[in-house]
Symmetry: C2
Subunit: 450 residues, 2 copies
């Protein structure tokens, strides 16, 4: 019997995080009025400040208060203070140097938001998108870096579904290294999934999210699968009358088929959790350990990263990763440089090539993302197929890693946009990235015409 979210309020609310991370469908932004970026600034609102903080400024994991807007703007930079986590160690060597060549003139770059005829400046777009931190690298140098609210250079922020991109990249590395066969069935690696919808899907179908699984994200439906996923992964004690799956792995075994594997792109968080299980089983290591050993220790990261875990210690592969903004930028720069960075080949070139070539545009088009026409999805990367061959990692509430090979540009952004779908911030993000790319390439900045 599926877990009914209205049954035990506190527990269900605490599941909001996982839910929200899972949200990335093609829905358009609601037009609900939210306080703007200045009014909702978490530093201004003083969450969790004081000894003790005022009662109305205390945020708790258990009652869901931490993830209601605008409190969520504090929480995305403090997940560790709210829930158990596992480290992604950087090791103890000195961090790699990020050279700077700051260009504050980027603030005045303008662009036309999608569907709008009013030019907007880069500076204004940062507020419009509730940006918490943004960094632009050009030819490997920091040309722009800003932090807002409670995020600092030394802070860490949830990357939400950008986590999926890290997991997909790990899988692509293991494929390139011959450790993982993408054409084998999932059940061959994880027999426990044989009777679930994942069992007869291929690893490649997981990696590209073309499985045919039932995973409803209809929040109005108390029997929606997404509630069961969230409840299963919630690390808090389960209510006494709870009957559902008690971990991510238990949940995955309950997922039912819907449609046919390999036909269409369906963005479903559960695919990444299943892929995470495959990688853990193949390697004998958790996703957190894999990330540390294969990427983080080699990247010259300046901080450890961390992941949220369920009650059995399994990291949330679909959305539980947190890191510093500069380290996300380092990861992007490493990808841009075909996997070679910090003096070593971290990711096989073949894996990078496979990411950049993208997936099936036809399969992608069936998902109906109105703002992402012509894109594809490969190894859990979003590939624009634009003239610059740009590709992205995307996470709910505006997390982004945007790599533009032609402009030799990498943008990493953390945000806490009130609307839980990127369709709400894409119109003022994607054209802004393209405008800065053109600007950095030396094209004359022209105020866009109507």
């Amino acid at each position: 019997m599926p877990y009914h979210p209205s049954h035990l309020t506190a527990f269900a609310f605490a599941a909001v995080l996982t839910l929200s991370m899972a949200l990335a469908g093609p829905a358009h932004a609601e037009t609900t009025a939210f306080p703007d970026a200045i009014e909702s600034d978490p530093a201004r609102l003083g969450w969790m400040v004081g000894s003790p903080p005022p009662p109305d400024r205390i945020l708790r994991f258990e009652d869901g208060s931490y993830f209601r807007f605008p409190a969520m703007r504090w929480s995305v930079s403090h997940f560790r203070q709210l829930m158990p986590t596992i480290n992604v160690s950087r090791g103890t060597a000195a961090a790699g140097r990020l050279r700077q060549a700051l260009r504050d003139d980027i603030d005045d770059v303008t662009f036309l938001p999608m569907g709008s005829d009013r030019p907007m400046s880069w500076r204004d777009a940062l507020l419009e998108n509730y940006t918490d931190g943004i960094i632009v690298l050009h030819k490997g140098r920091v040309v722009y870096e800003r932090y807002f609210g409670v995020l600092t250079r030394e802070g860490q922020h949830g990357v939400m579904s950008v986590t999926k991109t890290f997991v997909g990249t790990l899988a692509a590395m293991m494929v390139a290294d011959g450790e993982l066969d993408p054409e084998r069935k999932v059940e061959e690696y994880v027999p426990e999934l044989a009777r679930s919808a994942f069992g007869n899907a291929t690893v490649r179908q997981l990696m590209d999210m073309t499985t045919g699984i039932r995973f409803s994200e209809d929040y109005a439906d108390p029997n929606a699968d997404v509630w069961a996923h969230a409840a299963a992964g919630n690390p808090l004690p389960k209510p006494a009358d709870y009957q559902g799956p008690r971990s991510y792995y238990e949940f995955l075994q309950t997922v039912q088929p819907e449609g046919t594997h390999g036909e269409a792109f369906h963005y479903r968080t559960a695919n990444t959790d299943a892929l995470g299980w495959v990688l853990a089983r193949v390697s004998g290591r958790s996703i957190a350990q894999l990330l540390s050993e294969k990427i983080w220790r080699k990247l010259g990261a300046e901080q450890d990263a961390y992941m949220s875990v369920d009650s059995t210690g399994t990291p949330f592969a679909g959305g539980g990763l947190n890191m510093s903004l500069r380290d996300l930028a380092r990861f992007g720069e490493m990808i841009r440089q075909d996997g070679r960075y910090n003096g070593q080949q971290i990711i096989p070139k073949a894996a990078i090539a496979d990411i950049r070539q993208g997936g099936s545009k036809e399969a992608f088009s069936k998902a109906g993302y109105a703002l992402l026409a012509g894109w594809s999805y490969r190894n859990m990367w979003w590939v624009t197929h634009n003239p610059h061959g740009a590709f992205m990692a995307r996470g709910v509430h505006g997390q982004a890693l945007y790599i533009d090979p032609v402009a030799e540009m990498v943008i990493a952004r953390f945000a806490s946009h009130p609307v839980a779908t990127n369709a709400a911030n894409d119109p003022t993000s994607l054209p802004a990235y393209q405008a800065v790319a053109a600007y950095l390439m030396g094209r004359k900045q022209v105020t866009p015409e109507k």
Copy 2:
């Protein structure tokens, strides 16, 4: 009404951590038989390994399984994976170098355990004490370093009540800097404590634990104060019928007087939590922030440290700190060098002098520590007053930082001894430290006579 621990089993068990940290009374070791260090090795027992781990190898915060021996031997190196925590940032600079001059011959140094006539080797004492990691610095160089079980150089371990020493040191720094007046009453800094037993105590009495407060640690008594302390600080959701204090700060306000302030040393964890509140109120910063700003960022630490927090985000000042072994050693070396380390004066010399001179031996003697005759307690440091002027930080289950100024030696040790009082490991620890000190000073190693 005090919270009754047997009322809601899961919640009460989860409180065990806090309880155990609080335990450091003069009680003698029980003679209960426990599996030895090899049999109880957490790596050998395979806790939390696998995808998923076998059911009998999964440890949970909520049911207390994580802190039963021998599972506790895994948990002390993985608190972060079990509960919410707050970072103590090292910043992002390169770590300070710890030079090495290894002396493996230390393994063969022998000593006479207290109350025994059979010599024991240093090597054997490590197993006897369920050591998880130990490092010896001589003249600032690493002469000995070992890790056991699941702890590695890059891991982190709970320092338990060594946390108190960090908080006491912060207080001594703020006194030396004129930011805190040790002779003022606690209620002058924290008016909320006016009606508790702490209100009319001086800050100095908190710092030296000579307050007269009622804080029973009788585990057989379900109304013992220690249960209420643990339940209040537990970050898990409170049971629906829970009536007690809901945070460390709320608990502190309920503490009742017993005896007279300033007469005798009484080791009570609540004193440190109250001191933490004073420091937070005076500085406008949490203990975690203070540790980061005043010590960790300056020390050349190679890893961030972290602290457990209650449900209002207050770090557990009495015992919630975790760090790497090498960073604990760096802290000890900085203290040994009169506060100057890593190219800067981190702690005022006056504060170090005040620690080293110790507290009242008379007040200390009233606490009845049979194994620690002639010692005193000052600024939450344990001062031996032995011929070398050695002084220590001590945490339950065998955590130790031992500083011997005459031998120019610092020893940092993490352990997971099954018995929750240091009286169980002191007999094979304190004489061992003294023997290594003598050995490093070049005294001829002689097998101790009966």
